[in-house]
Symmetry: C2
Subunit: 457 residues, 2 copies
């Protein structure tokens, strides 16, 4: 099992950091670690919810530190927990009132009803993904279709479960679009090889690829899964991170509903407090919604959730705050919206600037980051690089990333860690560090690449 | 896979609760859900750590709501996180400064040095247990020795991994002691059956059995594991819950050190914020310490931890506060100690009262709860019960627990969910609800049992 975003290059970066080198971490979508500030109001509510009432919401001086709309929301959350508070295990699926908040959010987003009994509050998206994959894979003949390139939680979890990866290529020349004929071809090849294909992973907006799929493209995937009886894992954690004018996020559930396929296909949708504008990774909050699932499979997923007892309550609380912000007539609304707007505006500028900057480097080709937090440039390697990497017992991508790290302090993830077509090279970088840092990083990408090309020409 | 503490009886209890019946939940060690108050000072520190500094530690009115020793500790924790705060993923093993707090605690408890690089901060104890078992079990011939009775996380995780349970009996007639000759016998039988036994689970203080092992008894287990090359999973989450005069908790690491076996046996020790006096289950905090591990296995465990990115930061913070309380010269020290003393004193009285009360019921035999949060009485069933249960398609323990639930509202876990010797019957109950509730529960256990005996005589 490999997990590239925490792999060899990162371990080397940590070592260099301990020896005093200044590192720009662009290896992982971890916004607060590279300078993004947390939103104030959700933290105020969370902070109050954790205080025993006499030391918090009922304290005579509470309004000296907390705004009144944080106090009222904290009371509401404490009341949902029925006196148990954030120190007790909740229901295995999470606090019912918070699941209702999530259901209201999904229903309003999609215009389709949503049942809180089908929501699981999870430790980030990872825990839910792992539970669903466990029910799909019971032996080495079971396969799951994953995009190429993909996010390594899928390959790593499949490796742990002993199942098969069935890759379907995203079309880099066509904005990383998923293409039904290539999906059909991959599926047929896998079937011919004796693989029992059980599930399909769609990451939209894409990671590491940053594309935002049109409603029609999402619909094609849903139809494909319905036709072949595949469980659809809809990784929708970047749904708030859409920067491209004229594009919008469409959930798989919404696409299914619009085609009359609701209930005809098993869809597990994942969301997280770690991404979006919140960036609350350390909270390990998130949810999954199960639509159209067989009752027995649902029962298995419930048991898996039960065996971890429940997700962390602070993450559950943050999930509630993500899907339901301060009231529009409260004292925090305008500052909350201002903070969100500043973060989003800056992410959008960085998405554009980094893609443009990389495209301006001879030898780099980089699709636009329509969404998510990453770009995934293709880098033309000089002719001597492959042999040099082989001599070092590594691949070109890793050698390149290590060279970049040692020379510039920028820590990216080799593209090989996500999968890519034969002969392609490159890396994934976030655009999360502050704007001036990312501008400097783009200059360093260029300088390093020129030196690398000269060295291995 | 079954997970009895969240199984059939609990689901039925939840259903009855929704229809208005009053339920006494004694099925799970979830103290805050049944009236135990959280300790105030740790919550105050946690609450402050989550606030952005300008709204928290640096706010001019902070001392109106928070004691100064909570403010100083929150500053210390924020500084350990290096500006990233609780919203960022930490190192895969957890925040280094918090691992140092844990290492200091272990070193002081055991009188043996402890390296923070061998500590993993985990989501409760469950996540660490799962990671270690994953490295021990790679196929259906790999086995793990678990006590009979055991806590279901072990049987459930082994079932998921497709490994074999190799039970070793605890001696009920002898205070649930682990007996080396029975351990040797079980191991030999498993080897003869072709099982590759890889690991050994010791739960001390015991769950569901409540015994506290002597230093000598712990030493015997360590020697057994060293002799046979077994990884020792030391489930030590109840180490603060020792009520029996003259008994004390001994860690496996301490026992190993005293026999000169440190480094000769692989020990994974687990602890949690969920138990002890904190009872902070919802926080999902905990740690594991790996002693004497092979470097390659350590690397595998590191990868598994990385694939979940990190444990929740609020749980990491609570772990720090569990192992390092307020300073003894600060304003919160005496109230913190008083709150802890009240909770501990009450747990100790309940442990005694419940065991005595159950023993006074004809047909019940119950070992003392020397530690932990449970008793595991043996119940002599009336002659007609087995046939009635079989007719209902269930086992006697489950029928008994459902009957108890419907009649009295008390929700226990059938003993069968933990494993027990052939022909034995009973259940596990916590003694976590308030003292007057537990006294009433003991009376209801008696009344229900008399009715049950009459019905199935």
């Amino acid at each position: 099992m490999e997990y590239a975003v925490r792999g060899k290059v990162v371990i080397e970066a940590d070592k260099l950091a301990r020896s005093g080198k200044s590192i720009i971490y662009t290896n992982i979508g971890n916004p607060h670690s590279v300078g993004q500030s947390p939103l104030t109001w959700p933290r105020q509510v969370l902070s109050l919810v954790d205080l025993p009432p006499s030391a918090g919401v009922d304290h005579p001086d509470v309004l000296k530190l907390y705004p009144s709309d944080a106090v009222s929301r904290a009371r509401e959350l404490q009341s949902m927990m029925g006196g148990s508070g954030t120190g007790a295990y909740s229901h295995s699926q999470g606090v019912l009132g918070i699941r209702q908040d999530v259901a209201d959010f999904c229903a309003s987003r999609d215009g389709v009803p949503c049942d809180p009994d089908l929501i699981f509050l999870t430790n980030g998206a990872s825990a839910g993904i792992s539970h669903v994959l466990q029910t799909c894979v019971s032996g080495e003949d079971d396969g799951v279709m994953i995009p190429i390139p993909q996010y390594p939680i899928y390959s790593a979890t499949l490796a742990l479960l002993g199942g098969r990866q069935v890759g379907y290529a995203l079309d880099e020349g066509n904005g990383w679009e998923a293409n039904v004929s290539s999906m059909e071809r991959s599926l047929q090849e896998a079937k011919d090889a004796g693989v029992n294909v059980r599930a399909f992973v769609l990451i939209n907006p894409g990671n590491p690829t940053g594309q935002v799929l049109s409603k029609e493209a999402v619909g094609e995937v849903v139809k494909f899964c319905a036709k072949h009886g595949l469980v659809l894992l809809a990784d929708e954690v970047y749904q708030e991170n859409v920067y491209c004018e004229g594009k919008a996020f469409t959930s798989c559930k919404k696409a299914a509903a619009d085609m009359g396929l609701l209930g005809e296909v098993e869809i597990a949708s994942f969301h997280s407090t770690s991404k979006g504008i919140f960036g609350e990774c350390g909270r390990r909050g998130g949810y999954m919604e199960l639509t159209g699932f067989d009752k027995e499979v649902f029962g298995q997923i419930y048991k898996l959730a039960s065996s971890g007892l429940c997700s962390g309550l602070p993450g559950q609380v943050m999930t509630s705050l993500m899907v339901k912000g301060p009231p529009s007539d409260g004292e925090s609304f305008s500052s909350f919206e201002r903070e969100k707007g500043e973060i989003f505006g800056s992410l959008k500028r960085r998405a554009q600037m980094v893609a443009d900057g990389l495209n301006a480097i001879p030898g780099f080709t980089c699709n636009a980051a329509e969404g998510a937090m990453y770009v995934f440039p293709r880098v033309t390697m000089p002719p001597g690089a492959a042999a040099a990497a082989a001599a070092e017992g590594t691949n070109v991508d890793t050698m390149y990333a290590l060279s970049l790290l040692r020379e510039t302090g920028i820590c990216v993830v080799p593209a090989a860690g996500f999968g890519q077509e034969e002969g392609r090279s490159g890396f994934r970088t976030t655009f999360l560090p502050p704007e001036e840092t990312m501008e400097e990083a783009v200059r360093m990408f260029k300088t390093h690449h020129e030196g690398f090309v000269e060295k291995y020409k």
